[in-house]
């Protein structure tokens, strides 16, 4: 006969670990989780990361012929066209064209005689199946006059965007020629005409911060939604497993092996880990997108760390509610009925994200920061906005969050202890509150 010692904290911790491990694995190894929660965003992220690679095509090789009847543009245009990708794939110019969709080019430029016959020079463009000559630029004798335009004749096989890029080079060369004709230095003139980039800054009491519409509104919403998705996905999984255990009559078998506290704690920890997997997946996806869009400067590691802390608080609050409700019902529909009032409260930050992120220092936003269970969501919304949140507000919201988590878990444990073995008609919210107060 097995002789085992009296259980202590170590035995309790071990049982909690075993429950948490099972809850985590039983959730993340399901097809629904892998496909719905992990695979889809991962595929989306990979596709977004792979798009630049997928659309990358070998450089277009071919010939561009120029007939310059002015005799002043051809050299500049030839140089510009030949150097379309001179700076390589990583140059800003090349990257812009990639984002615009134009393929890289390796073009040879042939400058034909000033009086060359356009018809004869056009013939190679019609050559089948693939013409060597891809474009013919014809600059008329009065081509430097402002109202005149050069002609660009393209082969059917020339990429449209590359055609536009060639045209832009010719147009720039014409401008250079006009400037030179009037005795100006084109380089110096171009520098003078460069549009200045306005740096918009929001002035606050604690310092200046760069202001950007994307950073100001979209990013906070993205962070809050991230918190929402991670919290509610894992909370929903917790609720589902509890309801399943009740309907499958597994609960009492488990309670012969673990205490209600150990079971509840193990479940919450297991599903918190599930939520962290979701959070990490979506955070990685978001990072991939921002890096892909060349906006990685918007990522703030400190904000990501705070997001993790607020996730733990938000998840524990939501998980406590899910555990309390899941322990008293036998089907998801009854659970939804009981959860509706709380869900309405929790949905408030998602409805109010625009006013809050546009004006994150308003009294309304500040007050919501301190009201559980919305606090963590509003905090993340405000923290991700450019307006810095005073440190005391962050500290107070965290303190209130931790205190509310303790109260929520305590109340959930009391409801769980009574509700978990009850079958039949689910209790009302009032009955559940009475269980919390019962000694």
């Amino acid at each position: 006969m097995a002789a085992r010692g009296r259980p202590g904290r170590a035995a309790t911790a071990k049982r909690i670990f075993i429950v948490a491990r099972r809850e985590f694995l039983a959730t993340v190894l399901t097809r629904g989780f892998v496909v719905g929660v992990l695979l889809m965003p991962t595929i989306m992220g990979l596709v977004m990361a792979a798009v630049p690679l997928l659309v990358r095509s070998p450089p277009v090789r071919g010939e561009v012929a120029i007939i310059d009847r002015t005799g002043r543009v051809a050299v500049g245009a030839a140089e510009r066209i030949a150097n379309l990708d001179r700076d390589g794939e990583s140059s800003p110019g090349a990257r812009r064209r990639r984002q615009g969709g134009a393929p890289p080019a390796n073009l040879r430029v042939v400058v034909l005689a000033d009086d060359a016959d356009v018809e004869a020079a056009t013939a190679p463009l019609r050559q089948l199946p693939a013409p060597e000559r891809l474009a013919l630029v014809v600059i008329p004798a009065d081509g430097l006059a402002p109202e005149k335009s050069p002609d660009l004749l393209c082969a059917p096989t020339l990429d449209g965007l590359l055609g536009i890029a060639v045209g832009e080079q010719v147009a720039d060369a014409v401008i250079d020629a006009r400037l030179a004709e009037r005795g100006h230095d084109p380089e110096a003139m171009r520098a003078l005409l460069q549009r200045p980039k306005i740096s918009k800054r929001t002035v606050t009491a604690s310092g200046d911060a760069e202001s950007d519409e994307l950073a100001g509104v979209v990013l906070p919403a993205a962070f809050m939604m991230l918190l929402w998705i991670a919290t509610f996905t894992s909370g929903q999984f917790l609720l589902t497993t509890l309801v399943e255990e009740k309907s499958m009559r597994v609960m009492e078998v488990l309670l012969s092996a673990v205490s209600p506290f150990e079971l509840l704690t193990g479940k919450i920890i297991g599903h918190a880990l599930v939520g962290m997997v979701v959070l990490a997946t979506y955070l990685a996806l978001g990072t991939t997108i921002l890096v892909g869009l060349d906006m990685s400067h918007m990522l703030d590691p400190a904000l990501a760390a705070l997001l993790g802390v607020y996730f733990v608080i938000a998840f524990l609050l939501v998980a406590s509610m899910m555990a309390a409700v899941g322990s008293v019902v036998e089907d998801i529909r009854s659970a939804q009925t009981l959860l509706t009032p709380v869900m309405v409260l929790l949905a408030l930050p998602t409805v109010l994200w625009l006013p809050i992120s546009r004006n994150p220092s308003s009294t309304f936003a500040i007050v919501l920061t301190f009201i559980p269970p919305m606090g963590p969501f509003v905090s993340v919304l405000r923290l991700a906005a450019p307006d810095p949140v005073p440190a005391w507000q962050v500290a107070l919201s965290l303190a209130i969050g931790v205190a509310s988590v303790i109260v929520a878990i305590w109340a959930a444990a009391r409801i769980f202890r009574i509700g978990v073995l009850m079958y039949g008609k689910p209790p009302t919210l009032r009955q559940m509150l009475r269980w919390v107060r019962e000694r």
């Binding site: 035995a11 099972r22 009492e252 078998v253 309670l255 012969s256 092996a257």
Partner: protein, 314 residues
């Protein structure tokens, strides 16, 4: 012999409905006890209190020593009446999960599971999903999850419900095997013949109160045979003759047999002699009160009235 379970003045009320009232109970170590009682008598509540799943309103419960069940959780096996399995889980994973929670080391788990599955007649099901098993197979797996960690105390709530006679017999054997290995066993059941065959001791609660606590021997002695079963050679005039016997408290016909309840003031041999003189006898037998009779009597039913209702004439 010291007690495996000791219950002193325990009460439990749900809302305004008392489930258990002032219960005292001692389960001797190494014994096998039947816990009987009608539906809603408070059996499951008592078992749950013993296991610490719910707390009594008052009184003390000691399990396997001076502590509560929470202090000895790994040394107790429990098969609840409300028992299920995770439908999608593999049998081995389920058994491993429960055994690990009960403190069984992971090392050697696979061999242990295979050995037990073999013993309960389910070799090779370890890799199957629980919802692929028949109801009987699932019940055997549930039994395994209660005993696989080799507990000192085994509490079985209605272990035979839903089992066919073959599997019920196998479960009986397994329970007796556990008892032979020195384990204390408490089983609640509605099936009195099972309790009679297996148990050394029975206790019964009715409306939350203990109404019986004795060994089967003591039950047999206390509920002395006070019934004669009589088979007659000729039926004509027999009923009137039997009813005319002064010691007959009740006469009930059950098929080809007659059942006579005896007054307390007559010895059984004397009654048999007088019956033989009064009617043409083929056979007469003094029947022992079955546990079922005791159950029905204590729960407020009159077995003879039931027999009359079932087919005899009064």
């Amino acid at each position: 012999m010291h007690a495996a379970i000791s219950i002193e003045r325990v009460s439990k009320t749900f809302g305004d409905r008392p489930a258990v009232r002032d219960l005292d109970l001692v389960v001797p170590h190494g014994s096998i006890c039947g816990f009987i009682g009608p539906n809603g008598a408070g059996k499951t509540t008592t078992l749950r209190m013993i296991l610490g799943i719910i707390a009594p309103d008052q009184g003390t419960i000691r399990v396997l020593g001076d502590g509560t069940a929470a202090d000895a959780r790994d040394r107790i096996g429990y098969l609840p009446e409300e028992r299920g399995l995770y439908r999608k889980m593999r049998v081995a994973a389920w058994l491993t999960y429960l055994a690990r929670l009960k403190g069984v080391p992971a090392l050697g788990m696979e061999a242990r599971i295979d050995r037990w599955l073999e013993r309960i007649g389910l070799p090779g099901v370890a890799a199957r999903r629980c919802d692929e098993l028949s109801k009987g197979m699932q019940q055997k797996v549930q039994f395994l999850s209660a005993v696989m960690h080799e507990p000192e105390l085994l509490i079985l709530d209605e272990p035979f419900s839903g089992l066919d006679p073959l599997n019920a017999r196998l479960l009986e054997e397994l329970v007796l095997e556990q008892h032979a290995a020195g384990r204390t066993i408490v089983l609640s059941t509605h099936v009195m013949p099972h309790a009679e065959r297996i148990c050394e001791r029975v206790f019964m609660i009715h409306r939350g109160e203990k109404v019986l606590d004795a060994t089967l021997e003591e039950v047999a002695r206390s509920f002395d045979p006070r019934t004669l079963v009589v088979e007659l050679d000729a039926e004509e005039g027999a009923e009137a003759a039997l009813r005319a016997l002064p010691f007959a408290d009740g006469v009930v016909r059950a098929g080809a047999r007659w059942r006579l309840s005896l007054r307390d003031d007559i010895a059984v041999p004397d009654a048999i002699r007088q019956v033989a003189a009064a009617v043409p006898l083929r056979r007469v037998e003094a029947v022992r009160a079955s546990l079922e009779d005791v159950f029905l009597r204590l729960a407020g039913h009159d077995p003879h009235a039931d027999a009359a209702r079932d087919g005899g004439s009064d």
